[in-house]
């Protein structure tokens, strides 16, 4: 309110005082601090020692050299990274897979920018990004030989499954949430049962069902590539969870909002699209980000139905006589890849939360 002259600023405590206040306020707190710092230091040093100081980086090195050095054997990554990243994608065409992954990442980043948040822009970004991805990966036009879906693999496949799960699952989730919130009791009840059923099943069993059982159940003309069936299953699972998150968010929207819109004469679909959902999404943001994180990690479960996504490519990467010993390094590498994406997502979520906190009240 009243502008403050700089002379009136409170005195800033010195570094020592702050350290004392933050870390050593009471004996218990001091103990906790020491313990935490000690633990962090120990873990950090062990990791550094193994992963860097005693590690082998020479691509030509094999088991004997690596064992002699004592630390991590990054040679396996140097030799097998293309398999990990691209899976069974034809070797000469792997640039396409790399480019496609890049496009997905760019698309994701673009759609995370608040300035792209109008339905039309999002649709444009996604349509373009996804179309390009598909064209590059699948090919089948002059210049780009056809690469069938079962040859896709590695990071590109993981991204593809994740992104399409999200794209299909999100509208489905909204539909589920609205159905469950319906005023009509039978619709609300049966969709509640459906959602709860899907939610309490393990994802593996759903993937298994969609990949393997569905061919028995569906007439042939509905059946598509196994990849698309698996994506459908994973999207359904995502939708069931996300629906509950959105519903939670909708409960957080004051009833007065909907009433205000009603009393302005705004019809149902506009009320949902313009008033309720935007606020529901804000409320549900942390949970939504969490769900995305989980979904990204759970793409690794498609290994159970025989896809060469990141994790099974990694398995194949040490699954050869030369490298069977170096599986820890491969796992660490893959875990690191997952970590980058997921960490990015969760930091972005935190940023959004802060941004919205300042936008409101």
């Amino acid at each position: 309110m009243t502008p403050l002259s700089p002379a009136l600023r409170p005195p800033r405590p010195g570094l020592f005082t702050r350290l004392r206040r933050d870390y050593f306020a009471t004996p218990l707190s001091a103990l906790t601090s020491l313990f935490c710092v000690g633990l962090l230091g120990f873990l950090g040093w062990t990791l550094l020692d193994w992963g860097l100081l005693h590690a082998t980086f020479d691509p030509a090195a094999r088991q004997a050299e690596c064992r002699a050095a004592g630390g991590a054997c990054w040679s396996v990554i140097a030799n097998r990274w293309r398999l990990i990243l691209f899976g069974l994608y034809p070797y000469e065409e792997q640039w396409r897979s790399a480019l496609a992954s890049g496009i997905v990442v760019i698309t994701m980043v673009l759609s995370c920018l608040p300035r792209c948040w109008s339905p039309r822009r999002i649709a444009l970004v996604w349509g373009l990004g996804f179309g390009l991805f598909y064209l590059l990966m699948k090919g089948g036009i002059p210049g780009l030989p056809l690469v069938r879906e079962e040859q896709w693999g590695g990071l590109a496949l993981t991204l593809f499954i994740f992104v399409s799960t999200a794209i299909i699952g999100m509208p489905l989730a909204i539909a589920f949430a609205l159905l469950r919130n319906s005023r009509l009791p039978w619709i609300a009840r049966s969709s509640a049962l459906l959602i709860d059923t899907i939610r309490s099943l393990p994802l593996v069993s759903i993937l298994f069902t969609f990949a393997i059982v569905l061919p028995f159940v569906l007439p042939d003309f509905v059946l598509q590539e196994k990849l698309y069936r698996v994506i459908a299953g994973s999207a359904l699972f995502f939708a069931a969870y996300q629906a509950e998150i959105i519903r939670g968010g909708m409960q957080g929207v004051a009833r007065g909002q909907d009433e205000a819109a009603m009393s302005l004469g705004i019809p149902y679909h506009h009320r949902i699209a313009r008033i309720v959902l935007p606020q529901a999404f804000r409320n549900a943001l942390p949970a939504t980000i969490n769900q995305f994180v989980i979904t990204f990690m759970e793409t690794s479960l498609v290994v159970i139905v025989g896809f060469f996504e990141l994790l099974s490519s990694a398995n194949a990467a040490f699954g050869t006589s030369e490298w069977t010993f170096a599986f820890v390094e491969v796992y660490v590498f893959v875990a690191f890849l997952y970590f980058i994406f997921v960490f990015g997502l969760s930091r972005y979520g935190a940023y959004l939360e802060r941004r919205m906190a300042t936008g409101q009240r």
């Binding site: 302005l264 004469g265 008033i275 009240r361």
Partner: protein
């Protein structure tokens, strides 16, 4: 103007087994300004929420601007366009700027082009004396300012009737007078208004008629001076003594 703005005949409303409105009869002429008061839980909000069908009524008839409200879906949105409502807690859309709040309904419902809707919105924002806040978000305004935006938002639909449900009771003392001023201004322009409020000063100055409700019934009605100075019922007298007491 032979058709009254609002006619309620034997209006009944139940919440489960709780009888919230017990046969309410009321006719409001166009241009009339009505203040409703009564103790908490007496059914004031319920009644005005029935008028634009935020609550379904369980018996009797509601006729608004000559149209009877029934189960037919089409008529209710048409009615709501003509009946504006201002809530106790403002209920502004927090994710839209003040201007967007105001232009949303005209653009979606009346298909007004954006430029025109914005001009209209600015006109009403000026009327409630906050044109300079148009680009802020509701969360950045004080309560009094928010309530004034809510009034402007309702006005942008050019409703025939405005309903107010305790528009000042969520405000700080200093802000109440801002909002009451705006409302008094509107009343002066001949808008049909029904206002639930305990601001007796406002009622005295503006109302054509004061309605006193208790336990789901209209206990007393009449011109404000008569009601405030010599309430006819004992219940009304007791209520007045408590509200004006401190």
């Amino acid at each position: 103007m032979t058709v009254p703005a609002i006619t309620l005949r034997g209006l009944q409303k139940f919440y489960g087994s709780y009888h919230a409105l017990r046969s309410i009869d009321l006719t409001v002429q166009r241009g009339e300004r009505i203040v409703i008061c009564g103790p908490s839980g007496s059914g004031k909000s319920t009644m005005i929420r029935c008028i634009n069908k935020l609550e379904e009524h369980d018996g009797g008839t509601i006729t608004v601007l000559g149209t009877q409200l029934d189960d037919k879906l089409a008529s209710i949105d048409e009615i709501r366009r003509e009946v504006g409502m201002v809530f106790q807690h403002f209920n502004l859309f927090p994710h839209m700027s003040v201007l967007e709040n105001c232009v949303l309904a005209p653009m979606l419902v009346r298909k007004t082009p954006r430029a025109e809707a914005e001009a209209l919105a600015m006109h009403y924002l000026e009327k409630v004396r906050i044109p300079d806040q148009a680009d802020k978000f509701p969360g950045q305004l004080s309560g009094g300012q928010q309530q004034r935006v809510a009034i402007a938002r309702s006005l942008c639909m050019k409703p025939e009737i405005l309903l107010f449900d305790e528009p000042t009771s969520a405000l700080d003392p200093e802000m109440i007078s801002e909002v009451l001023d705006v409302m008094t201004g509107l009343a002066g322009e001949g808008m049909t208004m029904i206002c639930v409020t305990h601001e007796m000063g406002f009622a005295r100055k503006v109302a054509d008629r004061v309605i006193f409700m208790d336990a789901g019934e209209i206990v007393e009605e009449g011109p404000p001076e008569a009601f405030f100075t010599s309430p006819r019922t004992e219940r009304g007298a007791r209520f007045l003594s408590q509200v004006l007491g401190h």
